[in-house]
Symmetry: C2
Subunit: 419 residues, 2 copies
């Protein structure tokens, strides 16, 4: 079967001038690729009628699907609708349901409907309007010589809502894309290259209609197995068997199946086991607590933290012995051990964890260079510590340390169960 090809055209000066980063295209590319639709080109241009027309001509010559975002605002510099109207040789016509949606939005905002916004309900007669429940600019779906052109607003949440609810399902139906199933296996604590070596035999044994992608991101590697087939149920079962085999090869590195973050997975483990946790942070400076509390519902297992940035806080609030700090320093195994054990006692939680290190870029010594970081986990059975060594980038060091600590919690909880 011939692959369905898409192109994305984003319209607006903000991207060209670097005032905003285009995150829409990456999101669209990922969603399309889940349907087996391949993105061939992403083109960013300004609100200029000739340039939009040229981009449409070029994209139409290469692709089956042309998705456009931006240029649909109510002001004069937004040209997309007018360009499309003349491109498809049609005229503007009032679309009553869109007008009702726009009026509703203004009513909810307690504002008067302006003439400019009323005009947003005039749409090309040749298009099928795509409903926008979150904003005043409706989308437009055109079919032309077997190709589909869709224009959507550039506001990310409006575009994503439209894509998910309407455009992606319609594209799937229109192009009768084959059944595609994705299974995501999330790993942590293993580098992509080592992971690839471990999985080589399994990967080469995969049948041709199953493909594996490595998607590394800041210390985690998402493995995405994509399968094509005619019978979804058979395909799903076959893929599940492959995932089971995969699990046998790298059991210790998998933290989740599906699209879920490490902090969410660890939160889930704590919830299921009815355990509570408290944190004592030095070098991570609150980022660990932030990651844990970024998960809605984390108050069920998270009690709180002492951020002991200053040594005095370590002794006064976390009862780290002054002689420990004196003999071993703040960045040491004995200090981080006491921090984890004491925050656990202080907060009366099942688990206490701690970080202490030199985030950088300054503050290193020959003995303890920048990036030297100790982490610890304590529960009623045991205390575990780990020495990490990273580089000079302060924010990356904070990020990697937080990830390593969450992984230490995960490993400790898994080990506890296995015991």
């Amino acid at each position: 079967m011939k692959a369905v090809i898409a192109e994305i055209i984003t319209i607006g000066d903000e991207i060209l001038y670097g005032q905003i980063v285009d995150t829409n295209s990456a999101w669209m590319g990922a969603e399309l690729s889940k349907l087996g639709i391949r993105v061939n080109q992403i083109t960013s241009i300004s609100d200029n009628a000739d340039h939009i027309t040229e981009a449409l001509d070029n994209a139409g010559a290469r692709a089956d699907i042309i998705l456009m975002t931006g240029g649909l605002g109510p002001t004069k510099d937004d040209l997309t609708k007018d360009v499309l109207t003349s491109y498809f040789n049609t005229t503007l016509k009032l679309h009553e349901p869109s007008l009702a949606d726009i009026a509703e939005i203004f009513k909810n905002r307690c504002r008067e409907l302006t003439e400019l916004n009323r005009e947003q309900a005039y749409l090309p007669a040749a298009c099928t309007p795509v409903r926008n429940v979150l904003g005043t600019a409706p989308g437009m779906w055109f079919e032309h010589e077997g190709k589909v052109y869709v224009s959507m607003p550039g506001v990310p949440f409006e575009m994503k809502h439209m894509m998910t609810d309407i455009v992606l399902p319609q594209l799937k139906a229109y192009f009768k894309t084959p059944e595609i199933i994705h299974k995501v296996v999330q790993t942590v604590g293993i580098a992509e290259s080592i992971l690839a070596a471990k999985l080589e035999n399994w990967e080469t044994s995969l049948p041709p209609h199953l493909k594996l992608a490595y998607l590394p991101h800041l210390g985690t590697v998402r493995l995405r197995l994509t399968g094509h087939g005619s019978d979804a149920k058979v395909l799903d079962q076959e893929m599940q068997e492959e995932v089971n085999k995969l699990q046998q090869i790298i059991p210790g590195y998998i933290f989740a199946f599906g699209e879920i973050s490490l902090e969410a997975a660890v939160g889930q483990m704590l919830k299921e086991r009815g355990l509570t946790i408290a944190t004592a942070e030095s070098c991570t400076g609150g980022y660990l607590a932030h990651k844990i509390t970024s998960i809605s519902g984390s108050s069920a297992y998270y009690q709180g933290s002492v951020i002991a940035y200053h040594n005095e806080v370590k002794t006064r609030e976390l009862d780290v012995k002054p002689e420990t700090l004196q003999q071993h320093g703040a960045v040491s195994e004995p200090t981080v051990k006491e921090m984890a054990e004491n925050v656990r006692k202080k907060f009366g939680t099942d688990i206490g964890v701690a970080t202490s290190g030199i985030a950088g870029p300054d503050g290193g010594t020959p003995d303890k260079p920048v990036g030297t970081i100790w982490i610890a986990y304590a529960d009623k059975y045991k205390t575990e510590t780990k020495l990490l060594q990273f580089n000079k980038d302060r924010l990356l060091n904070i990020e990697y340390t937080t990830l390593a600590l969450l992984n230490l919690v995960r490993q400790s909880l898994t080990a506890t169960v296995e015991e």
Copy 2:
């Protein structure tokens, strides 16, 4: 003077398939626009020789400068160098200085130089190599019919280093771009539309060679004044006078002049005044501490934090009176006031700040809907509180609250000085 036009071509599947977000183009667009070079189109394509050639033809027909990133790796799927060699009708030739750089990198990594990496030192004879001190792929600078084509690696820090050190200065010289000066004024606590209304008279009175841009981002608005002229010194002085006028119109909203974050600006204020600060966080869950400690050198003024996620922690660690919690609830002015005052006492700092609210998406009540958040600032003279009301997005609420609190610190410090 005719504007110099640039286009950016990024090469590689990762962007098209949404596996990574293209942040390179935004960075390049912003840097080029500082030189007065306008980006006309950004094109992302895959490693395909015909498609690269087509993109070069199209970009060359529209622009004076064509900047390419990606496709320079040592493996077979990286085609950019070969395509450029044939596009400019030239041949590959060993470039000894590049080979020396590559050998050096391998030596530092204690690894054997491979044949594949050696081949990266073979460059098109028609190009001027652009040195890459951070990676194994040299850049290439071509001049052709008055246009400049530059190919760089896609790795962001390698590309940025090359652009800053070599490519941007050379483009400035080659195209003799006029003197351009930028002055950035950073504001917080005022919406873009209200700011624009306040600045309208001043903005319309600006001479035509001075332009103002509004760059809003999560509660802050950067104002960028760009000036074109022939004499840098005269221009700079003229712009400084305009900035002084601007400062008279909105003195209370300006937190910095130049590219500096609010947390860095507040840190600078604390440092200058020799003041220390401690934080007590509930709904922000560590994000406030993280923002403060993301600044290198923050240990000079930041002592630490108690994250009191659970009410019990608020009473036990922050001495919030049980009757306060009972009568007013955790999300209330009296609670957040006690938190700020008590963390200040407990940590012995000059300033104590606190947050307590419902970050969402769940946990709201008719009285206190999701997004209801109290913040407080306490020093030895006064305690100030503020009620915030945001929406349902948990992470945005955390982010906005942190910004509002940093702004409250800034305002309180400014007021203290003025008194």
